[in-house]
């Protein structure tokens, strides 16, 4: 009788062991993952904000005072074109009848400053295919700086690597017209301020205003 009971108990224990192994495995796996999590780098909600602050500081250190104030006040940059006959023609250094507006994470907009006529949208991105931080997008100010560097260093190369579209595909032309008006008002106000400052003998701003070529 005792032997039979012992045998039954052993069988029951063996069956319970078999049933509980997957459950124990799951528990151990969850515990192992919980312990490993701090090393994986937990989500940091302030990371992108800090990245943008660093990007703004970097942009400020690269562009001149006028361009930095333009970006700070208006949210975009204007870069003069280098080809006298328009984007895509040979570089001749003869001046700039056209310019670009650089918006963060938006296409470059080529336009004629004299008439405010929009020419083209140049859709360009700076993707990092390795996606080391889970996102392929640069911080906004880094995107603006990358476009500024690529435009001022090698306009032709950047334009050739972009997809060209007619104006209005991504950026609302009404918004651009409004921004161009804001830009002209901003420039007028800045010029008045500088004249007043010069008259008061306070001198110019560091970096200074650079006229169109």
């Amino acid at each position: 009788m005792t032997v039979a009971l012992c045998a039954t108990a052993i069988v029951v224990l063996a069956l319970l062991w078999e049933v509980s192994i997957p459950w124990l495995d799951r528990r151990l796996e969850r515990r192992r993952l919980r312990r490993a999590e701090p090393g994986i780098a937990a989500y940091d909600p302030g990371r992108e904000r800090r990245a943008e602050q660093r990007a703004r500081a970097l942009l400020r250190s690269c562009v001149n005072a006028e361009e930095w104030e333009m970006y700070r006040d208006l949210g975009f940059l204007r870069v003069w074109g280098r080809h006298a006959r328009g984007p895509g023609t040979e570089r001749d250094g003869a001046g700039a009848p056209y310019a670009y507006l650089i918006y963060p994470h938006k296409p470059l907009l080529a336009y004629l400053p004299q008439t405010r006529r929009l020419l083209h949208e140049y859709c360009v991105e700076f993707p990092d295919e390795t996606r080391p931080y889970g996102s392929a997008m640069l911080p906004e100010s880094d995107d603006v700086l990358a476009k500024w560097m690529a435009l001022t260093a090698d306009e032709e190369r950047l334009v050739n690597s972009a997809n060209m579209h007619l104006p209005g595909r991504q950026v609302d032309p009404a918004r651009v017209k409004r921004d161009l008006w804001r830009l002209s008002e901003w420039e007028r106000a800045r010029l008045t301020r500088e004249r007043r400052r010069a008259a008061e003998g306070a001198g110019g701003t560091p970096g200074g205003t650079v006229p169109a070529p």
């Binding site: 500081a57 690269c62 700076f126 931080y133 690529a150 260093a153 972009a162």
Partner: protein
């Protein structure tokens, strides 16, 4: 520049020190091999700020204080 992260110091050193010079060249090549573009912010004689793309370590102007690496441009949507 790193997506989702922003500016990151890759390497710094003194070109006069052979070991640091070698480390800078290696870091430069590694970035270019990873498909990054390299640019040096400059100031022209007229005071205009612009950038200069560099494709080899020897192209870096001697007066340059830094080289900025950023992902290669590609046609966007």
């Amino acid at each position: 520049m790193k997506p989702g992260h922003g500016e990151e110091l890759i390497a710094e050193g003194d070109l006069e020190v052979a070991e640091e010079h070698r480390a800078l060249v290696e870091a430069f090549r590694r970035q270019l091999d990873d498909g990054m573009w390299a640019a040096v912010p400059t100031t022209t004689r007229t005071g205009r700020r612009e950038a200069e793309m560099v494709q080899s370590f020897e192209d870096i102007p001697p007066s340059a204080e830094r080289v900025i690496f950023f992902p290669r441009a590609a046609g966007g949507r």
